[in-house]
Symmetry: C2
Subunit: 440 residues, 2 copies
Amino acid sequence: MTKQMLIGMHLGNGYGTIPGSWRAPGMDPTNYTSFDAKVRQAQAAERGKLQFLFFPDGPSHVGDLDNEPPGFNLDVMVTLAAVARETSRIGMVATGSTTFNEPFNVARHFKALDVLSHGRTGWNAVTSSAEDVAANYGRQLPPSHERYGRAHEVVHLVQALWGSWEQSAWTHDQESGRYAHADQVAPINLGGQYVASRGPLYIPPSEQGQPVIFHAGGSPNAHQFAGRWANAVIGSAFSIDDARAQREAFREGAERAGRNPDEIKFIVGLMTSLAPTKRESLDRRISLSGRVFGQRASYLGHMLGLHLDAKNLDRPLAPEQLAAARPSPADPRSVHALEVAHQGWTVRDILAHGVIDYHPVITGPAVEAANHMQEWFEADAADGFWILPDLEEGGVDDFVDGVVPILQDRGLFHHDYEGTTLREHLGAPAQYGVDPRVTQ
Amino acid sequence: MTKQMLIGMHLGNGYGTIPGSWRAPGMDPTNYTSFDAKVRQAQAAERGKLQFLFFPDGPSHVGDLDNEPPGFNLDVMVTLAAVARETSRIGMVATGSTTFNEPFNVARHFKALDVLSHGRTGWNAVTSSAEDVAANYGRQLPPSHERYGRAHEVVHLVQALWGSWEQSAWTHDQESGRYAHADQVAPINLGGQYVASRGPLYIPPSEQGQPVIFHAGGSPNAHQFAGRWANAVIGSAFSIDDARAQREAFREGAERAGRNPDEIKFIVGLMTSLAPTKRESLDRRISLSGRVFGQRASYLGHMLGLHLDAKNLDRPLAPEQLAAARPSPADPRSVHALEVAHQGWTVRDILAHGVIDYHPVITGPAVEAANHMQEWFEADAADGFWILPDLEEGGVDDFVDGVVPILQDRGLFHHDYEGTTLREHLGAPAQYGVDPRVTQ
Ligand SMILES: Cc1cc2nc3c(=O)[nH]c(=O)nc-3n(C[C@H](O)[C@H](O)[C@H](O)COP(=O)(O)O)c2cc1C
Ligand SMILES: Cc1cc2nc3c(=O)[nH]c(=O)nc-3n(C[C@H](O)[C@H](O)[C@H](O)COP(=O)(O)O)c2cc1C
């Protein structure tokens, strides 16, 4: 069988990833607090046999609340628990900070979620990088080397706690009266420079043993951290070359930690605004997000070395402007933005292509998304994709009903889950407790 | 209408509160990890119109794992989320430490649970009092005054975070495009000696505004703390006089904080082993817990100033022993134990009465439980009861089907929920954010 790609679905605030998504036709404006909505969206992704749901997290809110909802989920832990009971196969990955959580609490919550979900849980262990997050904990953000120093200790300790109830410990034999092998549930007594715990954690293994570790980060510290601990990386890249280089850096990180580089999957972001035609997709994006395009026009000008603002929205760039344009080397999206400009779209339409969004954006028919994914996947730019639909309500279905069948027909995506656990979905090796290869 | 009692149902490890409950006939020995079991038990309690479920918590495990399961739930937060989706009226109270949690995380988890459950969540804010819990967090237990000092700050800060998204802030008006009144979602910038947070917390109010605060503790520090912050106290008492004195101490605490004493409900524990006859109840307890009775016989001797051990189990106390017995003033259960001994039961049967359990124990028909509850309630010893069934599987139904109808017939317990929120179930006053009376 040829190699197949992995696909995850991003779930955020319940509305979607583009400004104004909360006002989309048919969108319930209370989706932010609706667990029914989360369950519906998760079930849609599961219908498409996607390997996992991905819940990013702050936790903090900074933004324009007069006009836009908070960017994150109410609470990823609580949401994951609610969704777990009403899905049966899809993996669920929630982001949790290594800097602003007690390791014993993280260990316990995530392993309980893994038991609840019958082995479908992943922890996206991130270091947090925003001062406003730190402020919510009454602190200042530690420098990167301290955050990553603590992160190593936290994940080590959490995995040791996960392993502290050994896999064969639980006998629960009513006949003999032997509940467990107490000697197989032992304290870990682990401590370092930042964190410590005695344990044990009194939670038996899930169907996959323990949660799978994800990571999201971009620095050499991140490569080292993920190389040692992670089975998957949530990444972001605007070109095949960039993605390939990032993927390589993480694979090298894994090798340096004594692991097989195939044990770490690089999952890159892709935003989708699917519609039967590109025009319909652009129009939907304009009708939802048009309010912010004046401001975005200025930024687009900045990216291209031109002066642009709200007054230019209705016109394509003039030939002199195209000739004078210089893509900013500081913004990796600039080259693509100029390419779109050269196609003759108005500034409004250029922006509607999503040229200054956080990830590459597909505007138009499902086959375009499938083509993009195939090209990147076959170029070894990624092991898979996490999909950020413009609308969580409806956009998940559009992806599942439109893109998934094309990828399946092309042999690029599985037709059904091979197993029941996230570890199986990812092809990650069995692991319980700490991987002895990475802690010498 | 005459005053009616409140009733909560204790849910722990999924088996029950007496040794050997995990081996009871019909008990699934994997209930410890079964969320189906938790949901089933919660639904049984809801069928009985009980005001709330109560989840105690360590978090730590110390015990005889060879023979007995861990005492607590896998993870109270995760369990509460799972149970919330599959019940609709019953309140859900989970224990969470003020000493070993980040206040921002507690605030967020519990308010999200409150939104998920449509206003049915309570937080039993406890200070934790065990060294083995502290060790799981790599620390030593701070002295009581520090724990309570921090507890005051944590609850203050958590409630301030809950109130930081004001009740009228969320407009979500798709027509006008006004998502919220951003000026009504403001940082709290609160900090004290132990904890601090900037906020805001980006979670709109639930149907009851915010979670209800419970407390469990026995010291003057606890009276002051609960008097200021709590709407209910989870208590333990072995006699009407003791319960009445405790209830009075908490009521005085509320008055000292400038509140109406009726705003704080004293909920006392009651263990039940219901069966058509007392003999059947005692036999069930013997068959499940008999293994520990040898050891308990020694302790019973200690309580009565006699020498007893496993060899005495088959005999009642001899007249000389009864004459020589001196109830230990150090153990409030001793007087009752001697009363039972005077009834002529064998030592095994005396122990099967639960004379050295953690709360008063009803062994026998449901009417005995109803009588006990009526007597205590009418003596102003408690505003309600939390029930610890011998078996979580089955014992909840026994209580609901046996005791509840009797109390209802006597006018002592409601026939249906008066409202949909925990706050309504408890008759607790409306509150959002911090109560201004208690923070001057
Ligand atoms: C694609 C991607 C997604 C991320 N998602 C999150 C997230 O959900 N929550 C978070 O706190 N940080 C997130 N981060 C930030 C990282 O955790 C990290 O703090 C940041 O990249 C700085 O670390 P670095 O110096 O290693 O890059 C994300 C980073 C990337 C690249
Ligand atoms: C009836 C009752 C139930 C309690 N339940 C818990 C619990 O579930 N978890 C916990 O950590 N402590 C629990 N405690 C302990 C208290 O939180 C507190 O730490 C202890 O009573 C010492 O504080 P104090 O000096 O105020 O009594 C409970 C105490 C009582 C009286």
